[in-house]
Symmetry: C2
Subunit: 121 residues, 2 copies
Amino acid sequence: MDFDTSTLKFNEAGLIPAIAQDATTGDVLMMAWMNAQAVTQTLETGRVTYWSRSRQSFWIKGDTSGHVQELVELRIDCDRDCLLVKVHQTGAACHTGRRSCFYTLVEDGVERITLDVMDDE
Amino acid sequence: MDFDTSTLKFNEAGLIPAIAQDATTGDVLMMAWMNAQAVTQTLETGRVTYWSRSRQSFWIKGDTSGHVQELVELRIDCDRDCLLVKVHQTGAACHTGRRSCFYTLVEDGVERITLDVMDDE
């Protein structure tokens, strides 16, 4: 059965935020945006697909970098305006080469980088 | 030292998405929005504070419901346009009375509710 994306609440740009979480470790890896077709493609292909706001194009995660996100499950929040995708992440989720985009910790007002760039696999 | 919120990227409405994650279990609890002052208040008070887009007012999580989010750590993503707050959550994070807002799983195109409403503490 096909999931009806028209039941989701997209913003004025037709996008919905999607939080990617490592299905194994529970680490939050990144947040990016999907349009309706990206949601459908993600569900149909099992490959997490975003909409790149900067490039204005589909962004099949890992197609260029090899850092694929294999969909484990997709969840919708209570307001239907945010998605959570649990994934099997190959390599770095972050374009900086770090496992997660959330590598900057604010501690007593000061920023500290808590993750190293991963070695290439 | 005070954290300089002007280094963050807010959207055209002056808001930044904040993902709340249970610091103990790793569960993603909710996603809501902060403006610059909400970020500052969250860091200064240790009580997670959002900006309610529907009410156009500060929303000190738990002030009405008692379902407080005590800040454990605040992280910034690589693009500086999304925050991750790890929290100690009292009771339900979701207004429906569920622990997390992401209680709706999409499975083979069909939705399934995976979390029960919590008993009142």
